[in-house]
Amino acid sequence: MLLRAEEQQIYYEISMSIGTGLEYRKMLKDCLGKYLRKLNLSAGCLLRTIERVDGAIELEPFYQLPKKAAANRAIHIVNTFLQRSYDPQGLGDLKKELPFSHSTMDEEYAYFFSLPDFGILVLVKSGGPLDEHTINALAALNAKLANALNACLQKEALVESEHRLAEANERLAEFDADKLSFIQYISHELNTPLNWIGSLNMMESKSLSPENARYLDFVRKGFSRISTLAQLASSYFEEARQKRRGEMQQLDLRELESALQATLMPKLVSKELTLIFEGDWEGYLVADKEGLVFVLQVILENAVNFSAWEQSIRISFERADDKGTFSVTDRGVGIEAEDLRKVFKPCQMPEHKRSEGGYGFSLPRVNLICEANEWSLSVKSEGQGRGSCFSLSL
């Protein structure tokens, strides 16, 4: 005869086997095995309540030990004593009776327990009954088991959704790649007819009437714009597809400062703008030099383009170990809040900002380079007419 303390230890052992993992088959094998071993039982099965579309509630066999139905007395007993499905009232009545037992043949006892919010647990003991104290003590363990099972099923549902999401993302990536290929293909294919149209350049305007010469001029302008657009689109979408990172090189910050100054000087002068370098421009960086120079040039050119006459543009660099952050601040036309996220996407330039010389691919290309190098690029603006600030963290 076991002391009550030893019984408590047995329940503790069973309890510790419940919820040891979120894979329910393994968890149930461990913990139902522990129920059977520690309580010296011969079989067990769990029935899960499933609500059908017609409102009936089915008692679905969910897990059993032993696994072979022919070797599992609990399954035999369930098939004898329980219906396969109940109406809600019938199931409610059945649940009110739980826990209950049936003795069958040869001192075999079957116990039916409630698994709250899950279903029913059936345990079979041979050779003698469980005492009432044990039956009552199992209620708390069964509640824990039901909670653990529900957690396992939620986790399984979550894993399944994650799996579906991953599959959807994979399909999305395929569509995206297809889209890029398509646009690149179209851009490329435009080149041939553009070349044909370009043959108009061979015509001498002088040999045409003034009116025809004017038409030819329109065609030339159109040809030039479409040709540039096709070229930019083709190279942008090719870069987007490849996401190629540039070569890592040592970069002298003072040289970078001079190069940026020199490149922008004509435009700065023409608009009487001032470019102010702030922060620490001493020393070196190791980075995709070509990419970085391009990114900073584009951001500065944008600042120049969208600044009013005689304004100043500031570019600062703050070093953090071997990395750092560049910031370009202007007091120009600014960016509306709804357009902040669009500035880095191709072909999404707001209509009022489009110009004859701009095609809306510069900042998207900058974004591609940053993504390829895992740089962080962001833009802030307080709105129209309030300027903007681009930050690039290496």
Binding site: L2, A5, E6, E7, Q9, I10, Y12, E13, M16, S17, K29, G33, L36, R37, K38, L39, N40, L41, S42, A43, L65, P66, K67, K68, A70, A71, N72, R73, S126, G127, G128, L130, T134
Partner: protein, 374 residues
């Protein structure tokens, strides 16, 4: 039931014994039990086993039993009237997947299986997993009887007999429709406890009640037996003080401590699960021999076959012999029905048994009796 018993260690005698029993009328399969002391080499025995047409199952055990005689050398060959479906489960120490898939794939007709004989390499590390998976797949619709084969030297080598030769680190399952009545009992009693197994790795107990297991074990045993650890080696002491794992309304499952690990962990035959509560047990010859008698009674009571054709197959733990010493003769007498009933068996490294009522277990230091219909 033809039974051939010999104290010879010669492989040629084993071969002639097999041929002799197999040729008897009504013999459908062979149970072969041999002593580790024979020093059988697989390359010598394999041709004999492979040449045998009848299904063969059995193994090499530390010692064997013939009648009321304990044998350290020789063999016993039993001719069974029911055929055996013999299946080998390899990789009993491979820590990967469980055995469920392999067991489920076996083509076994449970409606024609009254008994499963289970012989395992007793030095394999995953016997408990196999036993749990046997229960998980086949349940308790059949009786189970068997145990661990191998050597007390704890050196693992081929120790199980099959028609494909001798194998190691395997389980040999023999499914048969033979009538059996199974009795299990051990007679070990609580000395001290319970102790919570706060850290264990399969069959190795690292800590009890958050203290080093060896310290707890030594203090408990010395409080009972005096300062024995100074003068005796661990195996000698531990054979008298096993662990017992509690079950509700049933005898404790005994776990036999056999050695110490490199950091004084206690290594047992059979798994001691973490978070289990164990007692340290003690035994005395009277309680053990009474338990053996009880095991026989249970086996006889549950036997439903023909009494005039019954025999007794014993699987008794070798450590019971080591504990009882000269008094083991009394245990064998207690395990014998009468002089007319053929009795044979093994002294094993762990026992496997079930009477269709209790959960299937891998036992240690336990007497298992199968009353069988020859």
């Amino acid at each position: 039931m033809p039974i051939k018993s010999s104290s010879s260690i010669a492989v040629s005698d084993l071969a002639s014994g097999l041929a002799e029993v197999a040729s008897q009328p009504g013999v459908a399969s062979l149970l072969v039990l041999a002593c580790d002391g024979n020093g059988y080499a697989a390359e010598s025995v394999d041709p004999i086993l492979k040449a045998q047409k009848l299904p063969v199952a059995g193994g090499v055990f530390p010692q064997i039993i013939s009648g009321t005689t304990r044998m350290e050398k020789g063999f016993v060959i039993v001719g069974l009237s029911e055929p055996l479906q013999v299946e080998t489960i390899p990789g009993l120490s491979v820590v990967e997947d469980g055995f469920e898939d392999r067991l489920e794939s076996l083509d076994v007709d449970l409606s024609k299986t009254r008994t499963v004989m289970v012989f395992v390499d007793g030095l394999s590390t995953r016997i408990n997993d196999l036993v749990e998976d046997l229960f998980a797949v086949f349940g308790l619709e059949a009786n189970y009887i068997g145990g661990g084969a191998g050597s007390l030297s704890l050196e693992q080598r081929p120790c199980l007999f099959t028609n494909r030769g001798m194998v190691m680190d395997c389980a040999v399952l023999a499914f048969t429709n033979m009538q059996t009545g199974i009795g299990v009992s051990h007679g070990w009693q609580d000395l001290e406890g319970p102790f919570e197994v706060t850290e264990s790795r399969r069959n190795t107990v690292v800590s009890l009640d958050w203290q080093p297991a060896y310290e707890v074990y030594r203090e408990t045993v010395e409080a009972h037996a005096g300062n024995v650890f100074a003068s005796k080696d661990f195996f000698e002491i531990a054979s008298s003080y096993p662990f017992g794992i509690s079950r509700l309304a049933a005898e404790k499952i005994v776990r036999d401590p056999v050695s110490l690990g490199p950091n004084n962990e206690i290594v047992c035959i059979g798994e001691v699960p973490q978070q289990a509560f164990v007692h340290i047990l003690k035994g005395d010859p009277a309680s053990l021999i009474a338990a053996a008698k009880e095991a026989l009674r249970r086996g006889r009571d549950s036997f439903e076959g023909r009494v005039d054709r019954r025999a007794v197959f014993l699987v008794d733990c070798i450590s019971r012999y080591l504990f009882l010493g000269a008094e083991f003769v009394r245990e064998l007498e207690a395990l014998s029905i009468d002089t007319k009933t053929p009795t044979f068996g093994v002294l094993s490294l762990g026992e496997i048994a079930n009477n269709r009522k209790d959960y299937l277990e891998f036992y240690n230091k336990t007497a298992v009796v199968a009353v069988i219909e020859a």
